[in-house]
């Protein structure tokens, strides 16, 4: 049973906390994820987003897990955190995904770009105010003219029963 030790960290010093954990021997970054609490009925919510880092102390010789720590950072509406890419290189893609899905920005790293969605995507899909069936603006060639294929950027009309 995986029972990570839970810790809270301020958004301002998440980098210091995580770097300290790395120095204590937590050599594997298991996951970075975020939760948008804006639609949660919990009364004790202060900030909108909760960015969760999970780190693990893995002994390379025996393959045994020496303990995990889950660090929760509460961040507000326009959140910006310091990137931990310099501590664990695997954080690059995880932070890109958190930016893509939630709009939580990270500084101290090369320009953050979307990971899963295409660059022209508008909005951050996993936020609670992004409806699941939302349509995106159509993208196409800059000149605005349609490509040769008849199905390019054309929204097909629904069937009309006359």
């Amino acid at each position: 049973m995986i029972t990570p030790e839970l810790r809270r960290a301020e958004a301002a010093n998440n980098f210091e906390e995580l770097k300290a954990l790395k120095e204590q021997g937590y050599n594997v970054l298991v996951d970075i994820t975020a939760v948008d609490y804006s639609a949660h009925p919990r009364s004790a919510i202060v900030q909108r987003f909760d960015v969760v880092y999970q780190v693990m102390k893995l002994d390379p010789a025996t393959g045994q897990d020496g303990g995990r720590v889950e660090v929760h950072c509460a961040v507000g509406e326009a959140p910006v955190l310091r990137s931990v890419m310099s501590v664990w290189p695997g954080a690059d893609w995880l932070e890109r995904e958190v930016w893509d899905m939630f709009g939580v920005g990270f500084v101290d790293r090369p320009t953050i770009k979307r990971l899963l969605m295409y660059e022209e995507f508008v909005g951050h899909p996993l936020r609670k105010d992004y409806p699941i069936a939302k349509r995106q603006p159509l993208i196409g060639p800059e000149s605005g003219e349609l490509a040769d294929s008849p199905s390019f950027n054309v929204v097909r009309p629904t069937i009309k029963y006359d």
Partner: protein, 429 residues
């Protein structure tokens, strides 16, 4: 190497910067198969998310089912009956074998070994037929439920498994003879795509990839879940961390998974096939007892109903589904026979009622085909998940791909990418 490429497993785009034939820099673009699993999971009830999890790692769907169900059960604080746990282990291990067979077969084919591919796909076909008998489908299995598994295994499943495993082992031995000491194969695969232990750990890589670099980390050993602590199996570990080591690790794991399933059949507690006939009463006797007030014994007996009652199953599978009425539907005999059963059924089925998992969050991981497959589940106390995060093991390996490919030849991309075993369904969700 664009999203549609015959050697790309699934859709992914590699933008390679070359100097002649040597790779200087790689850019990996993913997200072509993003189907919003996490967003949809927030809109579905707890059990309805399970078909979505099938589509994550679609070559080993049962492992995804098991991983998600374990995470939800951890949050709810329930454990399933022992026979159900053994069934989940059997399902996971068969899925793991199909995952490894697909990976080795496909990457061998890309190097030109078409026969090896066909041998392994034939073996995989037999396993899919087994999974079909167990769950009802080959890859869209949706086998687990919150609280157990969907149904018990068929009566002759153990014998069928014995036959199929013999065929799988034959195919594996044949492929081993074709590939492992094959000069062409070894020239392409030995020494290419090497990664050190420290780099793999820094990227968060787990699974056969990490084990090939020399770290014996396996979630089944480090955090035994279900009944894995009762089995005797080895965890194959490599030394150099190159493509050849990964190939050997996966091959060895196939044999270990088959061993685990055979031990399961020996250790599994007896199930529904050994129910005593005198515990069943006729439905009218059951009703009569209730009508004249003898309700004390109704919970002890199950009504024996006519075959034509749609969906009527004895006891609603008490060996494989936890009988907690908050999570699991009552037996049809109870739903039709007693008011408590009827209310229980209604409360689980009615819109916005259903299974209510207490508020909180939990993380639980299983050993997937590629590594630690984790599910971080957040609940707000309602009948739908608030947030389901799937930690895809191949995301970390793909993040490390630029470093893996730096300095190698273009031709080395093929075996390296094959041994990474990227499954787009899991990577992009």
């Amino acid at each position: 190497m664009g999203p549609a490429h015959p050697a790309m497993h699934g859709v992914v785009r590699l933008i390679l910067e070359l100097e002649g034939e040597k790779i200087v820099h790689t850019d990996v673009e993913i997200g072509y198969l993003h189907r919003a699993f996490e967003k949809h999971a927030e809109a579905e009830t707890w059990n309805n998310v399970i078909p979505w999890t099938d589509r994550l790692n679609y070559v080993s769907p049962l492992i995804n089912n098991v991983g998600y169900a374990l995470a939800v059960e951890k949050l709810a604080g329930i454990t399933i009956p022992e026979r159900g746990q053994y069934l989940r282990v059997i399902a996971s291990e068969i899925s793991r074998v199909t995952d490894h067979l697909t990976c080795i077969g496909a990457s061998a084919m890309e190097l030109g070994a078409f026969t090896a591919f066909l041998y392994l796909i034939k073996a995989r076909e037999y396993l899919y037929q087994l999974v079909d008998q167990l769950t009802g489908a080959r890859i869209t299995t949706s086998y687990t439920r919150v609280g157990g598994v969907k149904a018990d295994m068929p009566e002759d499943f153990a014998e069928k498994c014995k036959t199929v495993f013999r065929q799988v082992r034959e195919a594996v031995v044949d492929t081993d003879k074709l590939l492992t000491k094959n000069r062409i194969f070894m020239d392409r695969v030995d020494g290419t795509g090497a990664m050190s232990k420290e780099d793999a750990l820094a990227y968060g890589i787990t699974g056969p990839f990490l084990r090939s670099t020399g770290v014996p980390y396996d979630v089944r050993r480090a955090h035994p879940y279900l009944v894995y602590d009762r089995f005797d199996f080895e965890v194959p570990v490599g030394t150099k961390g190159d493509n050849f080591d990964r190939y050997l690790c996966r091959f060895a794991e196939i044999e270990q998974s088959l061993r685990i399933v055979e031990q399961c059949f020996v250790q599994m507690p007896k199930g529904k096939h050994s129910l005593e006939p005198k515990e069943m009463k006729d439905a009218f006797e059951y009703q009569d007892e209730g009508k004249h007030g003898d309700t004390a014994l109704l919970a002890k007996y199950k009504a024996k109903v006519d075959q034509t009652l749609q969906g009527g199953q004895r006891g609603d599978r008490p060996d494989v589904l936890t009988q907690d009425p908050i999570f699991v539907m009552p037996a049809k005999e109870d739903a039709y026979g007693s008011i408590e059963g009827l209310m229980n059924h209604f409360e689980l089925v009615m819109w916005s009622w259903g299974i209510k998992i207490p508020a909180g969050e939990a993380y639980s991981a299983v050993e997937g085909g590629n590594g630690e497959l984790g599910f971080h589940v957040v609940s707000d106390g309602s009948d739908r998940p608030y947030r389901v995060r799937c930690r895809p093991p191949c995301l970390y390996i793909m993040a490390a791909l630029p470093q893996l490919l730096k300095g190698s030849w273009v031709a080395d991309v093929i075996p390296t990418f094959g041994s990474v075993n990227m499954i787009a369904g899991e990577l992009d969700r």
